[in-house]
Amino acid sequence: MNKLHLSKASRVNFATYAMVIAAYAVLQFMGGAGILSATMRGQLVPICAYVAMALSLNLTVGVLGELSLGHAGFMSVGAFAGAVAAAALPIPSAPLRLAAAMAAGALFAALAGALVGVPVLRLNGDYLAIVTLAFGQIIKSIVENLYIGMDSRGLHTSFLENRLTLREGGLMILNGPMGINGINKISTFTAGFLLVMLILVVIFHLVGSRTGRAIMALRDNRIAAESVGIPVTKYKLMAFVIAAAMAGAAGTLFALGQNTITASKFDFNTSILILVFVVLGGQGRMWGSIIAAALLTILPEALREFADYRMLVYAVVLILVMLATNNPTLQGFFTSLFRKNKRKEAAGK
């Protein structure tokens, strides 16, 4: 019996990587063969961005165990910081510029995460959720009142009203409530795929490490974890900031795949949408988040034939799925099914 024995966790991790790579290969092939419809091709980058968002929120909700209702706020910070960076940085190569913009987006979102996290992570449960909601609203208000322009002297910013006087040849990048217009679309499906893979590597390594175990111990029982000497704030903050940085990079990816972005794109509804991906996919289950995010991003498109009714159908599907997955009879049925399989396995040995 020299078969390589892998723990269940690493088998799941490898299966997740394999799933993402296979999906990328198939979609890339279909795109090359021209089978993919134009709307579908347009959806590829947003799907990657939402998958990345779902993974990042799953780190907060599933691994750290704190409910965040303002995750779109970090996406917003990343989107605007990244888009400004992409417009301002004099890097001729598009992939490099995208990478630099994503790094900038992740950095700014991580800063925002730390800024919010330090005071806020002392709260627990629903109160933390409300504060993240409030934070998301504040970010939206701030971005809506921010004006950024660039000319030969460098970047200029103005708050509340547009007081920028740019030199000749200057460019207005962020125009308050109008957002950023005429974005150079440099995000590609490959970049999105790489970002998702990178996030998966980080999350799986984190979860498998000593740090990850400390974070999950906090989730399972904060008082017990504290009493064995785990510094609560440090680990909570670490997970929160990492999740924020990932959301920032995802925001940049999303923004650089659009013509126009405005602050209202990243409002409370977006935060909720991402939370829906995480809950439907299963808390702490990364492959679940990926599938849920991808399917639910396509679903409104797929429901096109229902036209006006599509969001209604979406809502009904959401409620029914929640009712079905939490139905004790169905749950009992599935656990008994799995148990039978396990018994068979045991008998086979």
């Binding site: 409030a134 934070f135 909720i272 809950v279 209604l312 809502a315 409620i319 929640m322 939490n326």
Partner: protein
Amino acid sequence: MLVFLNHLINGVSLGSVYAIIALGYTMVYGIAKMLNFAHGDVIMVGAYVCFFAVSSYNLPPLVGVALAAAVCTALGILIERLAYKPLRQASSLAVLITAIGVSYLLQNGAQILWSSNIKMFPAFFSSQPIALFGGELKITIAAIVTVLACVVIMAALVWFTGRTKMGKAMRACSEDKAAAQLMGINVNATISMTFAIGSALAAIAGVLFCSAYPILTPTTGAMPGIKAFTAAVFGGIGSIPGALLGGVLLGMIEIFASAYISTQLSNAIVFAVLIVVLLVRPTGLLGKQVREKV
């Protein structure tokens, strides 16, 4: 000084609407320990029902309000029965997502039924404000009615939860459901009752809100819903006087912030104050400090 008084009156009036909505949140949270995100959309439904009753069927405004309250009560009980009751034992996140699903359902249902075109809510009260001090201090009748309604509702609720059998059952359920059941309280009926009261209040709040801000669309309820929810947390979620205090304070902060600091940033300031309050008093202004037991 008079300008300040004017803002104060506007703030208290807006805050009273938030307080009435916040009551629905806080009662449901107190008893079912769930954040009922669909509450904001019940407000919108109430406003639409009243709008059609008054403008299409020419019913008197009071009948319109009563009708709206009746429809919303039925809607609240229906939502609770169909969507939340099967999830009594489920995780709070599952219930939260279901509530969000219900919220989407109401918004999109309203859009299909009544289209997303803006409806101008009819003015029930004379738009001529009462002018005091030689016309420098203006009080609209809508503002007076709103504040009065809020005071009456609050007094009625304090009486109801403190003195009646049903109200006592409600408080017992919010303290300990299992023990309440052992004492012979019908927990399910009590929870339904809470939803019914909360939804009826939402209908009234919807009409009052639209009397002050007469633009009615399927998403009208979303923002006051979020703000009222914030108000409930601000005052200490689960506490009825807390909802009043939180609502009124929030309304005042919003009006003062937009009058004296910046209109665009008023929302940001409201939420920033909330964060500061929660950091100083993590369970809200009047919330009970729960000591953790190991």
